[in-house]
């Protein structure tokens, strides 16, 4: 894959912009996923993903390929996501009223009319999203990169330009905080199964 990336980069640098198109097609879902997990808002994630690729388009001619293309792209995306989170936090600090609901935390709350399985999945996603949204930006980024993207501590440290020990500490405190926030969800899957079984029995009866 890295070889193909290099070929697309080479094509773009040679003036063939379809090389860029291929890179966008290849990585857009992953970058969107990363940004969604960071900002927990699908529209914002799409907008930020566009911003990432616009930056890539402009910077690609100067890309030295000292790292792989995806590593470089990923780093840009993380920075764009973190900047967005910082901006949003400052906006909240300066403008939002204390009683205002956090759209990030509640955007995905389900409607009770949705089918049972969907309702549980959406509720779960909303609860996890609300918990992750409670984490400070850096902890959130480290958690997402490690838990969902499977990056090593060293890779995260390089992407965030910090020490490996700092990454370990962020991850530890992130998980510990999530543990508190998600306490009531423990056994949620078991509950989900029980409710589904009881629905099944009603239908059978």
């Amino acid at each position: 894959m890295a070889t193909e990336d290099s070929e697309f980069v080479r094509r773009f640098k040679a003036g063939d912009e379809t090389g860029f198109d291929e890179l966008v097609r290849r990585y857009q879902p992953r970058i969107h996923g990363l940004l969604y997990r960071l900002v927990r808002d699908s529209e914002d994630a799409s907008d930020l993903a566009q911003e990432v690729f616009v930056r890539v388009f402009r910077a690609l001619p100067g890309f030295q390929e000292k790292s792989g293309f995806y590593t470089w792209l990923y780093r840009i995306a993380v920075n764009v996501g973190l900047n967005h989170l910082r901006a949003r936090r400052r906006k909240k600090e300066h403008g939002a009223s204390e009683t205002q609901m956090d759209p990030e935390a509640f955007a995905n709350l389900p409607d009770r009319r949705t089918p049972q399985a969907d309702w549980h999945q959406t509720r779960l996603r909303a609860a996890i999203g609300a918990a992750v949204a409670e984490l400070p930006e850096r902890q959130r980024a480290v958690f997402v990169m490690r838990q969902y993207d499977g990056l090593s501590n060293d890779e995260i440290a390089r992407a965030l330009n910090c020490a490996t020990g700092t990454v370990k500490a962020h991850y530890f405190f992130a998980v510990r905080r999530l543990q508190e926030l998600l306490k009531e969800l423990k056994g949620a899957t078991a509950l989900n199964r029980e409710e589904q079984e009881s629905q099944h029995e009603v239908h059978q009866g």
Binding site: P29, R55, R58, I128, G129, V175, K186
Partner: protein, 195 residues
């Protein structure tokens, strides 16, 4: 090994990422410590729950690509539109101001090496806008805060809209950007007009 030390290693132990030299002592501690075993189980459950989080569908790839290309075209056109107007202002005034602001901000509360890196990025031949400057200096994400980056964009916008330097200074001194520009006092050798 003490419980507090073991607790900090539990996540790596759980994910099989722990240094092999340390793993046996953690394993041994866990065998004789119900409290730490409980903590290990709590971490395991927490991580298991978070894996249930699913992603919404990504945007349609072709439509997304079209949107990106459109944004690239618009931003490129914007850059071309303002560049000649900057020249009207007097050569490298805009760039010099951006450089000075960048350096001032970086020196004020950032690592010492950041200033020279920003200077190099700002003086690069391809740097003709704030967006170029930020692209050319990836470390600017770390060095500059978001409000400082916004201030640079705001400064750029003022430079584009004003063709008279005195008017420009008056304009700058009427808004919050003057607070940031006040930091340039020692570089200019005099306080900003009206500041």
């Amino acid at each position: 090994m003490k419980c507090t030390r073991v607790e900090r290693l539990l996540l790596e132990y759980l994910e099989h990422r722990l240094d092999p030299k340390r793993a046996p002592s953690v394993h041994e501690h866990l065998a004789g410590c119900p409290g730490c075993r409980e903590k290990l189980e709590a971490f395991r459950q927490t991580l298991a729950i978070t894996t249930l989080d699913t992603l919404p569908p990504a945007p349609d790839p072709e439509r997304f690509l079209q949107d990106v290309r459109r944004r690239v075209r618009v931003e490129t056109a914007d850059t071309r539109r303002w560049t000649p107007r900057i020249l009207v202002l007097g050569g490298s005034l805009a760039l010099a101001t951006i450089v000075l602001l960048g350096i001032t901000l970086s020196v004020r509360h950032r690592p010492a090496t950041a200033g020279s890196d920003l200077l190099e990025a700002a003086l690069a031949p391809d740097t003709t806008s704030v967006a170029d400057f930020l692209d050319a200096a990836p470390q600017s994400f770390e060095v500059l805060t978001d409000s400082e980056r916004q201030a640079l964009y705001g400064l750029e916008s003022e430079l584009v809209q004003n063709t008279d330097f005195d008017d420009l200074l008056d304009e700058l001194n009427t808004d919050e950007m003057s607070q940031l520009l006040a930091g340039l006092e020692h570089v200019y050798g005099r306080p900003p007009k009206g500041g």
